[in-house]
Each structure stands twice: as structure tokens, then as C-alpha cells.
Point group: C2
Chain length 377, copies 2
């Protein structure tokens, strides 16, 4: 296989994914759960380990990597002129409502550590890199005013305005998950009360359902078995093939469980999901008022697995708002979906000629199966 | 006086202001209440009348005007490729909670009508033109990430992100007044319930106080006379020189009355203003999450007349939000204040050399007194 080679790194709240590509396509892709123990160099060390491991898989040396594109959850801060991650889902020392993050980090010196090893790196917020990829290869081609939103465990976004990517002073624009939508309300991992992520994310959906179950209002009427395969898409984070309302306890409920209960006719699940969709839509009203966008592209597992439920609810609420601002806005699902993370990181460092060839040939559709690594090196 | 001459037009919800300038300074400035009767060509006709009248005042012909800069309330729509105003405070045919606008217009064809008369026109939303002026001549000099917010009868804004003005598909970015802040809540003129303008604008402050008074909870303890002159600034929209709580009835209360009652120790006024400031701050949290800005410049009569009350309240609430996004943000009052409208419209059409000279000499500080025209032509 011929170089040059690019490495794509996608750092999320639950896993780190690395892939290596040359102009012909994605050659290898692997991921492992993100390990949040040890000192605050643990994440960059895992990135380096995974890049090294990916190189081994395709028989190249680490120094044959021309550039590293890093797409990561944020937000970012700047320390001594270099980008640091101040992400509450990685750094246990930041506001964190459940104490589930087993470290006391307040920031991760990602740029400093990676630039010690790699000559050329480009780090962006995963919303920013995702909108770049959707505009280059997916549902945002040719659009000057387009916002990508990921509706997943958390909620993130990236935007082009007037044909240009917006970044802001620390590269955090647009951090839509942390806009306020209600006066009081549940606490977000970031410490805010009543922001969009606290009201509409996958975590919020699961928590809202849990709180209604644990408050004693247990649904009794639905005990039929449910096939969790819906619209041909296997829900990502359902652990069993079948689920009944009785299986769903306050300990174990996931957002996908709540959607399955919704499909079974559980009124509590319907209420939780309708609420979440309404808040999601009201968040889009706010970002649209601020950016005057043309197209919303929505991705992320919560949306992509349940879009036939969610999209009508979102549109209904969105178009209720001030028509002069809302009426011409379009909604599209992500066109890259499971390839989005790789393409998002790759397009940060991809040369123009390479980009044009990929636009035409779409080689990511022929990427090899992912290799899943455990938590131990 | 030598040309070339530029005309600056500022269209607000209550008045239209026109000034004419040459490179030496502002030569004439006049305004009249905006007349909202007749057909939907009434506003462009008033603009033309005022420009003609201003030309007469300085002894020039209308065709000596090189370019017309128009700064106007929005939002904007596009009709047949030309900009139209779809502003609920001008167009009675749009959502309008009180029925106080005496027309049934749904849009105003401003660009079409003005371009029939003037060769060169540039129309922008007043938030966009204001931030341009503050960045060129005022509190935003040298800033790449700066948001101007007007806190007045309504709430509007304009923003630079990464050193570039953002406009969006119809030039409405960022229409911050129409972002949602609460679940239900008072109705905005735009039809939204619970948006920023409905909760924090001058109109909202007056209405909130009124509703508390008419609900029977009349403040009895404060009957002392108040001097409405505060910090050397005469409050713009107080009609009497002195006010007591007993003068304030549900029919007549203005935002400035509420601030004066606040200064008298009226607990209801204190509660209303504290609430409004809190919502204003929460709106800034949302726009900051989306734009990752560095500097907020705040202007408008509600803020400028009462900034020693409002700024501490706004900052207190703002910095409670997610520190990774909020901590480095600065607040500055508008540096152009009563000149802002003229400069906002002028800078849309001002040549570069002229701009540089004005940055140095600040000739607007020597502008003549405004001429006030009545409502009849």
C-alpha cells in the first residue's frame, strides 16, 4: 500500500477511534473504550498507542503518517498558546453531577502532547469537523449556511455561516448543548441547569425516564416483547435483543430502551421522548435565530436510530416559532452516519486533490470492519 | 460644503432617522416618528421624504447623494431576489400581540422601492450595522470575536466571529431577541412564547410591572418623589420629570418608570428588573455558547440609562454558567451610544479612506443637534 498516509483520531466521551487512510481509502480502523484513569496525559497516550497499533496492522511505521486529524469532544481552552481539552465528560475535576468520572483532571494538554510525537496535527471540536465532512462529502454539499447537530449521548454542533466555518475565540462555536432552554431544570454535566444537553440528550432521555420510574409511577400495562430492530437499523446501545418494560429498571435504562418502550406504547416513554424532541427543536429555534441558517443536518445515534419518531416531532415544534425566521429552514439526516467520525477527522488534514477524488469515488463505503480493542494495552 | 455626500438611514420601531455626512462630519440629522398607516410602501416613502428634507437643509440636491446606508430593524426576507422587511414591529399583518400596529402589512419591499430612487444602497439589519460601527469606531476595535447587543424597546444583536461579520442566509444573524429562554412564558411580538425579547426587553419590563400592579399587588410603601436624572443621563422615555409609584398605572408605565421605582426601593420593581437582567444574561450565555465570543458590547436605552444597576446583575448570572465557556468573556458598554445609529448606517457605505480619517478625528462628536419633525409631511 502506498503513502502518503493520514491518521484520523476521533475522541468521544466513551471511546477513541483511530483510522489510517491513503488516497485509495480507509485502510484500517480500530477503537477502544476511553480510559479515564491515571494522570491527565492518559488520553493523548491512548491516542498514540492506537495510532501505533493501527500502523502495525497495515505494516507501516508511525513516522510514515503525514498528518494527524483529531476530532474531539470539547470544549477547548487555551493554555500557553496551546489547545487543551476542558471537557466535562473526560475531566472529572470539572463540574460533574454523578461523580462517575474516575479522575480529577481539569484539563487535558492534547495539543502539547501530540505535537511532541507528530509533525503535523490539526485538532478541532467534533461538531466543527463533522460539519466540515458533511459539507464536503455528505448532506451539506454546496450549502453556504448549514448546521450539523449530533444528537447522541450528548449534543454537539458545527456550522458554516455565509460559506465559512465558524470557530470562535477558542474553537468552541457552536456549543449548542449548553444553551439554556428553561429556567430551572435538570443539571447538565457542565454544571448548567436547564440547558439543551440536560433536557434532550440521550443521557437526559434515560435519566428522565428513570426518574419517572423511581418516583413510583411504574408502567404496568406494557409487558409484551419488543423486537428492537426498527426500520432496519439495529439500535446501537441496547444490550439485549429483546426488552420488556419489566426489564427496564432505574439502574439500567438507556435512551434506546426508552425508544423501544415508546414503540411498545408505553405512555411514560412517549411523554419523555416527546418532551426531549420538543426541547431539541426549541434549541434549534435558538441556533437558527442566531445563525439564520438554511439547512440543519442531524446525526448521532439517538437521532439516526429513531429518526422516524423524532423528525416529525422536531419539525412540528420548530415551525411553530416565528415564521419569518423558521419557515425556509430544511432538515436532513446525516448522510455519512457511521463514517462521519472518520471522515470528520480525516478532512481536517486531507489535501484538496485527495478530497476531490473521495467526493467522486466515496471510498469510505468500502472501509474494512472496525477492530475493537479491550481496555488493557 | 463639499461632496461626496453619504446618507445614513436608521429605521426603528418608533422613529426613522436620516443624516447626511461628508468626509468632514455629519452635516444634518433629522428624525420623525415612523408612520405605519397606508400601504406597505409608506416606510420607503418616509425614508425618501426625510432624505429629501435633509438635502434641503444643507442646500444640496438628492442626486448628489453618492450612496445610502440603511440600518433597519428586521428580520429580513427575500422576495424576487430583493430584500423585504418582515418586522413584526412595523408590519401589523405579522404576529402581533396587542393589535397596536395600524396596518395589515406582511412585508415591506424596502430594497425594491429605494433602489428605484437611489443608485447605490446598502441595507443591513441594525444589529449587524451596529456591531460594524462599534468595531470600526467604538468599543470593539481590534476584536475578532465580538457581539453587540442592543437592550432597548426590543433586543437585537450583531456579531463578528473569527474576524468576519456573520449574516446568514437572509442577513438575520444573530437575531438574539427570538431565542427561547423558558418553556412557557410571555408572548413576544413575533409570536414566540418565552423568548428573550418577551422576557428582558424594555417592553417586557414595563409589561411585567404592569401585570403585577393590575393583579392587585399595588405597592403602597413608596410614595416619595424621585429625580429621574440618574448618573447624569436623562432617561430617554420618561415623560414626566418626576414620578411616584402612584403615578404609575397599568396604562402608562414605561421601562424607565420601573427603573426609577427600583431606585426608590420598590420591591416589585426590583423583582421585575432582577428577573429581566437574569434572562438577559441567560440569553448571553446561549449566544456565547454558539459563537464562543470574546467581548459583549451592550448598548440601547434600557442598558445605557441604567447600566450601573444592570451590568452587575448580568455579570453575576452570566458567570454562573459553564466556566469553560464563560470565564474569559468581557463586557463593555457601547462607546458610540447616541451616535451609534448614524455611524451604523454610514459605515455600510463609507469608503476606506474616509473610515480611517473618522477613526482618527471622531467628527461625529461634533454633529449638529437633531431636527425633530412631526408626524405630518
Amino acid at each position: 500500500m502506498d503513502g502518503p498516509y493520514l491518521a484520523a483520531v476521533d475522541i468521544g466521551g466513551t471511546k477513541i477511534t483511530v483510522s489510517i487512510a491513503n488516497i485509495s481509502g480507509i485502510l484500517v480502523k480500530l477503537y477502544r473504550p476511553v480510559q479515564l484513569e491515571g494522570d491527565n496525559l492518559a488520553v493523548p497516550a491512548q491516542v498514540d498507542f492506537l495510532v501505533g497499533h493501527a500502523c502495525e496492522q497495515i505494516g507501516i511505521e508511525r513516522d510514515e503518517i503525514t498528518a494527524l486529524g483529531v476530532s474531539t469532544c470539547g470544549p477547548f481552552g487555551i493554555r500557553d498558546g496551546e489547545l487543551v481539552l476542558v471537557a466535562p465528560n473526560l475531566c472529572g475535576g470539572l463540574a460533574n453531577e454523578r461523580g462517575i468520572i474516575p479522575n480529577d483532571w481539569t484539563e487535558i494538554p492534547l495539543q502539547r502532547e501530540l505535537s511532541r510525537i507528530y509533525n503535523k496535527i490539526h485538532i478541532e471540536n467534533d461538531g466543527i469537523s463533522a460539519v466540515t465532512a458533511e459539507r464536503m462529502f455528505g448532506a451539506g454539499k454546496g450549502e453556504d449556511n448549514v448546521v450539523y447537530i449530533t444528537w447522541s449521548t450528548g449534543i454537539g454542533s458545527g456550522a458554516y455561516v455565509d460559506g465559512r466555518l465558524i470557530k470562535g475565540k477558542n474553537g468552541n462555536a457552536p456549543h449548542i448543548g449548553h444553551i439554556y432552554l428553561v429556567d430551572d431544570g435538570p443539571r447538565c454535566g457542565c454544571g448548567n441547569f436547564g440547558d439543551m444537553e440536560a433536557l434532550a440528550s440521550g443521557v437526559a432521555i434515560a435519566r428522565d425516564y428513570e426518574s419517572r420510574v423511581t418516583s413510583g409511577d411504574v408502567t404496568a400495562e406494557c409487558t409484551t416483547t419488543v423486537d428492537v430492530t426498527t426500520e432496519g437499523v439495529m439500535a446501537e446501545n441496547v444490550t439485549a435483543e429483546n426488552v420488556t418494560t419489566e426489564d427496564v429498571t432505574a439502574e439500567s435504562v438507556t435512551a434506546e430502551d426508552v425508544f423501544n418502550l415508546f414503540r411498545m406504547g408505553d405512555p411514560k416513554a412517549e411523554s419523555v421522548i416527546t418532551n426531549a424532541a420538543r426541547y431539541f427543536a426549541r434549541g434549534l429555534v435558538s441556533i437558527n435565530a442566531i445563525l439564520d441558517t438554511q439547512v440543519f443536518i442531524i446525526g448521532g445515534s439517538v437521532f439516526m436510530n429513531n429518526r422516524h419518531i423524532l423528525l416529525p416531532l422536531v419539525k412540528e415544534e420548530f415551525y411553530k416559532s416565528f415564521p419569518a425566521l423558521s419557515k425556509d429552514v430544511e432538515f436532513r439526516p446525516s448522510a455519512l452516519d457511521s463514517y462521519l467520525g472518520d471522515l470528520a477527522a480525516l478532512c481536517l488534514v486531507m489535501p484538496d486533490d485527495w478530497g476531490r477524488q473521495w467526493q467522486e469515488k466515496r471510498p469510505w463505503e468500502f472501509a474494512p470492519e472496525s477492530i475493537v480493542l479491550g481496555t488493557d494495552k
